[in-house]
């Protein structure tokens, strides 16, 4: 008897097979918004180099509704990426002290605390307070 194994093709339907795959793809898609926002910063630098009129036009564009929508979307995706990523840190960085491992909450919590401290420091240096 000869064997004839059947290989099922993998279609893009796997993304919708379970909510975990949708959440994963959202995390992956966040890079498009974060990458786009970084390109916008480069464009801003170019405008700054071109002189006061170009820089003023860039600042004007930042206040446009399209810019505000893009910023809100980017902030949402960046926050989602950061929160889901920090929640995964206990898996990647388990810390064994003596016999016991540090609880997951302590490792993720330390990352969230560092995130908050650094964010406030940057906002402070930027003169937000």
């Amino acid at each position: 008897m000869s064997r004839k194994p059947y290989v099922r093709p993998m279609t893009s339907e796997w993304i919708l097979r379970h909510s975990r795959y949708v959440r994963y793809m959202l995390r992956e898609f966040s890079c498009l918004f974060i990458g786009g926002w970084t390109l916008m910063l480069v464009w801003g630098l170019k405008q700054l180099a071109e002189g006061p009129a170009a820089w003023a036009a860039f600042l004007q564009w930042l206040t446009s509704p399209a810019s505000i929508v893009l910023h809100l979307l980017t902030l949402g995706f960046a926050s989602y990426h950061s929160v889901t990523w920090f929640n995964l840190t206990p898996k990647a960085l388990p810390l064994q002290i003596g016999e016991e491992f540090l609880p997951d909450g302590a490792i993720a919590g330390a990352h969230f605390a560092a995130w908050a401290v650094l964010s406030f420091a940057i906002l402070f240096l930027a003169g937000a307070f």
Binding site: M1, Y21, L93
Partner: protein, 246 residues
């Protein structure tokens, strides 16, 4: 003992007669406490003796009865029918070729498992007339990874393995990590050639599905990220501090 009607929709494939798999419906009556494996055994014994599937222990130890139940990788012996309202769709584990009905071809996994050398490669000769010494802390460092039963549910859950069949995959990588973490073992450098390669841990994009579906609560996703971090540290040490020993 109350019984209720259950509709099973099982993917069938006969390599001798079928060009491709097809679903077959079985209507049976099942006690409340039955698992999917009980229903399959009932079908095979009383309705259709041609139905093929793997099973052995019926107690989530042997890892033989992995299959897709309503699209999720599950052990058929641990999956209660009462948790599934409506028609229950039973398919062979995803991402593996189908040998017949619910039986998959697992040669790829077996070959990959052998490649990562999942056994103790002693650091030094075994103690004469004495046992190896290991502290509870040293044991705890790798204990969870010893619970893997090679059921391959993690491979069926991992989209990276489905898309890139060369990827070594979660269970084999977690088992390699288990031995790397063992205080008695000295085989890490040998295993690194397989697991720190492109087809090893670097194909993983941390979907995390492997750990979600593991019936023994092993955390292969964690093991893979830990190997990535250690391999990265190795790389920096080699390139920035070439005078240090590996």
């Amino acid at each position: 003992m109350s019984e209720r009607p259950v509709e099973l929709e099982v993917l069938r494939y006969n390599p001798e007669t079928d060009r491709e798999p097809r679903f077959q419906r079985y209507s049976i009556s099942c006690p409340e406490e039955w698992v999917v494996l009980d229903a399959l055994n009932h079908v095979k014994e009383t309705v259709d003796p041609t139905l093929s599937y793997r099973w052995s222990c019926h107690m989530a130890v042997c890892g033989s009865c992995g299959m897709m139940v309503d699209g999720e990788p599950k052990l058929a012996c641990k999956t209660f029918l009462r948790d599934y309202p409506g028609v229950i769709r039973v398919e062979p584990l995803a991402h593996f070729p189908i040998e017949r009905d619910l039986v998959t071809v697992i040669d790829d996994f077996m070959a990959k498992l052998a490649r990562v050398k999942p056994y103790l490669i002693p650091k030094e000769p075994a103690p004469q007339d004495a046992e190896y010494r290991q502290t509870p802390a040293e044991l705890k460092k790798f204990k969870q990874f010893t619970l893997c039963i090679n059921c391959m549910l993690c491979y069926a859950a991992c989209p990276e393995y489905g898309l890139i069949p060369e990827y070594i995959g979660p269970a084999a990588l977690a088992l390699a990590h288990r031995y790397n973490q063992d205080s008695r073992d000295g085989g890490r450098a040998i295993r690194q050639e397989e697991i720190a390669a492109y087809e090893g841990v670097w194909e993983c994009s941390f979907v995390g599905a492997c750990s979600d579906v593991c019936p023994e609560h092993v955390d292969p996703a964690g093991a893979i990220q830990q190997v990535k971090i250690k391999s990265t540290v190795d790389w920096y040490k080699k390139h920035l501090m070439p005078w240090t020993k590996e």
